[in-house]
Symmetry: D2
Subunit: 485 residues, 4 copies
Amino acid sequence: MALFVEKTTSGREYKVKDMSQADFGRLEIELAEVEMPGLMSCRTEFGPSQPFKGAKITGSLHMTIQTAVLIETLTALGAEVRWCSCNIFSTQDHAAAAIARDSAAVFAWKGETLQEYWWCTERALDWGPGGGPDLIVDDGGDATLLIHEGVKAEEEYEKTGKVPDPNSTDNAEFQIVLTIIRDGLKSDPKKYTRMKKRLVGVSEETTTGVKRLYQMQANGTLLFPAINVNDSVTKSKFDNLYGCRHSLPDGLMRATDVMIAGKVAVVAGYGDVGKGCAAALKQAGARVIVTEIDPICALQALMEGLQVLTLEDVVSEADIFVTTTGNKDIIMVDHMKKMKNNAIVCNIGHFDNEIDMHGLETYPGVKRITIKPQTDRWVFPETKSGIIVLAEGRLMNLGCATGHPSFVMSCSFTNQVIAQLELWNERKTGKYEKKVYVLPKHLDEKVAALHLGKLGAKLTKLSKDQADYISVPVEGPYKPPHYRY
Amino acid sequence: MALFVEKTTSGREYKVKDMSQADFGRLEIELAEVEMPGLMSCRTEFGPSQPFKGAKITGSLHMTIQTAVLIETLTALGAEVRWCSCNIFSTQDHAAAAIARDSAAVFAWKGETLQEYWWCTERALDWGPGGGPDLIVDDGGDATLLIHEGVKAEEEYEKTGKVPDPNSTDNAEFQIVLTIIRDGLKSDPKKYTRMKKRLVGVSEETTTGVKRLYQMQANGTLLFPAINVNDSVTKSKFDNLYGCRHSLPDGLMRATDVMIAGKVAVVAGYGDVGKGCAAALKQAGARVIVTEIDPICALQALMEGLQVLTLEDVVSEADIFVTTTGNKDIIMVDHMKKMKNNAIVCNIGHFDNEIDMHGLETYPGVKRITIKPQTDRWVFPETKSGIIVLAEGRLMNLGCATGHPSFVMSCSFTNQVIAQLELWNERKTGKYEKKVYVLPKHLDEKVAALHLGKLGAKLTKLSKDQADYISVPVEGPYKPPHYRY
Amino acid sequence: MALFVEKTTSGREYKVKDMSQADFGRLEIELAEVEMPGLMSCRTEFGPSQPFKGAKITGSLHMTIQTAVLIETLTALGAEVRWCSCNIFSTQDHAAAAIARDSAAVFAWKGETLQEYWWCTERALDWGPGGGPDLIVDDGGDATLLIHEGVKAEEEYEKTGKVPDPNSTDNAEFQIVLTIIRDGLKSDPKKYTRMKKRLVGVSEETTTGVKRLYQMQANGTLLFPAINVNDSVTKSKFDNLYGCRHSLPDGLMRATDVMIAGKVAVVAGYGDVGKGCAAALKQAGARVIVTEIDPICALQALMEGLQVLTLEDVVSEADIFVTTTGNKDIIMVDHMKKMKNNAIVCNIGHFDNEIDMHGLETYPGVKRITIKPQTDRWVFPETKSGIIVLAEGRLMNLGCATGHPSFVMSCSFTNQVIAQLELWNERKTGKYEKKVYVLPKHLDEKVAALHLGKLGAKLTKLSKDQADYISVPVEGPYKPPHYRY
Amino acid sequence: MALFVEKTTSGREYKVKDMSQADFGRLEIELAEVEMPGLMSCRTEFGPSQPFKGAKITGSLHMTIQTAVLIETLTALGAEVRWCSCNIFSTQDHAAAAIARDSAAVFAWKGETLQEYWWCTERALDWGPGGGPDLIVDDGGDATLLIHEGVKAEEEYEKTGKVPDPNSTDNAEFQIVLTIIRDGLKSDPKKYTRMKKRLVGVSEETTTGVKRLYQMQANGTLLFPAINVNDSVTKSKFDNLYGCRHSLPDGLMRATDVMIAGKVAVVAGYGDVGKGCAAALKQAGARVIVTEIDPICALQALMEGLQVLTLEDVVSEADIFVTTTGNKDIIMVDHMKKMKNNAIVCNIGHFDNEIDMHGLETYPGVKRITIKPQTDRWVFPETKSGIIVLAEGRLMNLGCATGHPSFVMSCSFTNQVIAQLELWNERKTGKYEKKVYVLPKHLDEKVAALHLGKLGAKLTKLSKDQADYISVPVEGPYKPPHYRY
């Protein structure tokens, strides 16, 4: 796409694929609202007092229908919002169109190039002369990364006059990041420094981004407070587990229509995401083999009747491979060469480096046949045998299907709203330092409670006597912080 | 669409949505071939001898990718083929295009009107001056019905000069059938009679069509031999059960993206289709309630931990309703009025009369909001509450997703190929009278055996001594006819 | 035990282990009655008219608590009853005691020798001077066998004066049968012939006995009518499947206390019994591998995510082996030698020849260590490695636990009561010839219906219009005879 | 039993039910050793260096076969051991006999009175003139409680001369504790004070005991260091979850033989224990309803398709009730009165106050019918309807079956051994203060690793590059402390 910003009649900026899909997006947003009781409760509870009045929020998070309900919850609470996606394939264009038309500045479309991706991220952070953002909603940490790298470069530039050199790295994507920063430096050598100063904090959505934050905290380089939303129980034990249990088979079926029953499936990693994937595949009738580095998670897999082996043991007999590790270099091109014809290879971890796409793309004589968008058959010259790679190694549930369903995202996103409120409300109290925090247990329990009614559940109430017996308040929180659920 | 027949450069007739999708269709057909070992084995085993040389086969069966592999198996064995779909929403347009371009005369597109549907059926039966078909592959029995009604009308016309009166029936679809027959009578008053005379037989795919055939056999009105493919074990206990277990959640997810976990789902009917649906919903985390008329099936549901109640008991608390009964008038508009807002209502039984679409469409003041094709929200005027109806009450797995996956359809369709071969090979021996037959057990076992290798299975072999001990041949068949599996 | 008949104060004969357990037996019988609604309904419906008045019924069927409720249902309907078990380990001594004291002549105890077993069978058939039995309830066909062999010997004796020669067979158990017949011949050379003449018929409980009956029918040697209760849907698809799903893990746990989760379990045979066993093991967290000869059953196993291999493939890596085939020579001593230390080997098929106990017992230098009754560790001299064999290779669920639970046996035994009533009521009408019959569908459905209320289920009722549409009576039966459920 | 201490020929004290069961116990211990690879590895790794040389260990923990392997691991590492059970019904008498004969001083039998129970606890703590214990293995905290109460009384006595007054409490069991302390005070007013001084620490097994420890830590009354073994991942997420998933149905089946399939089961509490119980019941075919106070756990139950209601909602329609809460007063006599006839009521939480046994026992006119030990039918006078209570409201898996299986207990007990080693090795370093500690992550991972080989698992190894990428050491630990698994 030609990279220029467009404007709505009301003057709000945007760049989306097709504004004519806005009506369709609106209809699906309305359906999603019924499935997202946590967010709708936030609108009811906090909307009248407009707590985000004056707050400018930038989000970098998959621009889906569910995210649309999140965005409109933030605006319903008074915020001004700019948004980009955190993955080049995850945007639902009708969702982007509806939000761009009705509610917030959106820069996102399905199938961005990496160049376009970072342009969009820059736009979402670009609040113009008035400055901003005040708050960031991040997923994977790319918005946070850009600011941190920007500040680093500006400091270096101020001290030494040196600008970042994109050729200093092999990583193609990081070259783009450095180029963007370099190109901006001369026109405005204090842009990211101003951002950093204004920023109240970030709330981070996912395991990968959280890991980055803890590393920065450990290194002492974290520039603003961060709330780790991922480790709310109602996030990591829900969206990661139940969300993937839903969206992995959804992605497999939409991309390949392959029968899962009877197949041998390998799930690399048995964390929350891997547990959800393995459960879904097993329930669909596959025979599931898990690979793990962690003996505890491996023993959990065994207790569920799953086999635990290494990838090498099974690479030539399995039909479906799913990476969920959050690590890199899990399935290499040498593995792929040994796979059965039409073996399916996909990733549901945050980043696209679990599968060696670079090795595959540069394999001499390999042939890529695009069956349909996000579904490619790669044929090796020696064997004429092909493998099917989904979403080019990126998050297959967002690339090939529509991501996690609304209900479970309502849990995650209610945590986001609460985290953003917490950061904003405490912006002047000094409660949050430049560290990583998790939300307190009672808020976690509240998020869950907001989702019970929709499913017809009734909670039992503790008597005072019982509460005293187990040493908890009658209204909770009911568990110690280390409780594992 | 304008209803005129088109021709390929080679002169073969067709009518499809978009011939430019043929390449895409071809790619998916090639993927499906790898998943359909039974059909590919038929090509290997029978292809060289061209057993269908000279046979003209008309098919009326969902025009999907899997059916494309069936059609090209029939042509690989020497047959000439004309095809239509047996459902207005089930055609995959890229499959139709690929077959029309490369292999057979196809008349089918997704989203036919009923008028168009019966025009397509007529075309598939219209072999021109040379006459035909010799064989029919039927699904639901509409091709068979048209010939039977045609013959009846021609006999009446010959005797009394009377033509069928479309106004003699309330059923809108049957009015169309009578109109077609009436309109054809004058120009060619012996068309269906000639067809009947030539016809070697029909092989019928599904429960509903089989029921019609047995009724005709009982009434003595069946005009040619029929093989009941549905009741091959490798069909009804596989495609109905495992196929629906796969395609029901697939349809739900593509149509609505709704989270199944935590929901209350009602499955009406606990036959093979209902068992597959209930298993899929339970495994996805729904709480499943079954409705049944048959106490044995009800007791089976209970043994799986499912609740068995009547629709009236649960209509206002469930989130998802699926009809699988093969009967009519299961969910009426009065039920729908009582449902929760955005309850999902869908059917996976063959015909569209399980859900009272007529009652819904004619409900005073009801408002239909099409979210996307095959996904409609219907809002009742009194409550402003809406329900979501999939595929207009027709087969939701074909209307909203892509039907059953290739592997399980390979079982069903290998039975079809074997049945067609059997009818054709015995066409002059008198083996088959005007009755309904099932395939012998050893062929059923053969179909299964052809599908084991793909899944890495190894069978145990009986010793002669063991075979004698249980009184079966070493090579099978291993079970008595009444065995239930 | 010393083999002499004892008598109650009322003069009824019996031989049980310990009459002092009668009170305990009575308490458990009362519990079981609440779980057996089908049998209790028979008492309510038929008790007042005393349909079995004058009928003498011999039963040869595991003498358990559940069977006690069956026996007392027969007596509540007017019958006089004599009973033995059909397995040397399956008797529950407290059940035997309660029935012997209160209701019927019982000859059965847990841990009979084969000699004792056949003595008990003879006693159960010995109605004294008045003659009898009129009816037989058989399980596995041993009572039926004894009469058939007896008649054969008496006919030979009458013709030629020759008596059976026990040495004419290698089979140790059949030698005992021949000895019994031989020893009785001289004192009463017409005993079995008189029995045969009087006998109205037999109702047979299980797959193995049914197979014998069909063989006799095919050979023309069947001496009286037989009803195949096993193939009632409410028997073979319930007791075989759901009964074993319950009682297999029960037997494993009571015998070995071994953790099932994480283990590799091999199930030989995937019929109804194998399906129940595999489901139970999978659900308990084992990784299950199936061995099969029948490709259809093998494909069913694959569709449930189970691996299908041969015993040879897995013999040295599995932890638990279960035979369910109904065939012989499944696990041979050469297999057992290759197993892991403390691998568990057990059988849940009717006869004890699935596991090569003879080969094991006679293996040179093998050492048997009895952990507790029915749980033996057999140590091979070469490896010092041992395997654990349950119930000496006999039905492990009855030898190591208490067999199937009451509720599912209520289904099976209600079929028995109905079959016995049918034979008795039609004894003078000639309805039943010397053939094998199954109960009509409407009675099968009735059995199921009697069990729904207890589980809180509510059936849906067909309207007349719906019934006509699918061509069934409003009250059922709802399915054609070939329907597989 | 008459309460006097017996002695083995070697002079070791004991009191068990029946020493003649020692051989049987030994055989089962040998079987268990094969299933407990973690403990056996400890013997191999640490045995040669005799790290517990000189250590006197008192254990208060269910005296089962698995505990026997733990005890003999402690002695194999050089310890001297005295043991009692922590539950009046949980002792397996053959295990107690084998240990008493061969390895340690045991005071335990199945079916102790409360009086006997505390006498046994006192004996296990009574190391005679030489003093002791040095270490305590506790389960539920009763040994720890007795010492704390003893010290409190001795301090009070020293200060004021006052002795504890058993009538100061309503709690019958606590009256016994106070009586024991009071009676000992005069003869030895410093017994517990000496114990406290010598004690290196306690390792606590279960949730309930841990809760008590944290309360004491919070109050500042904890007298010695404590290691919380329960919250090792390889304990609470394994034994509590997978152990109960195994042993709940085991207990139900042994006690009642009731068919679980088709039943409605209520699980009170959805913590780790409740999750295991609910999974087992669901898999066995029950319809499971959960009661919960914690919205997060409730939402987890919903995501698995379980219904969440209050006990009041379902008390009159459920068939099976299981308490797993760790709280008190869950099922009261007023609930029991409303239950269906023969509803089963049982508890699998540590203490027996989840079920209102006192209310039941004192209900006017109630009648108790003991079916067999640990299985009582209680009949209410008004309705003549009875409920079945297992193990008198105590841990039903230990009272009615044999507790958790060896393999999962090997995980728990390997943590115990490691905790005891840690306390002992650091006894002079001051590493452990009078606080509650959990074991470090790498030891937790080690425990898991020791159990993988037995199940045939193979771990994947991280490359250095991958380890750096996710910021963990190549050898682990792999997860942050807050990770929930």
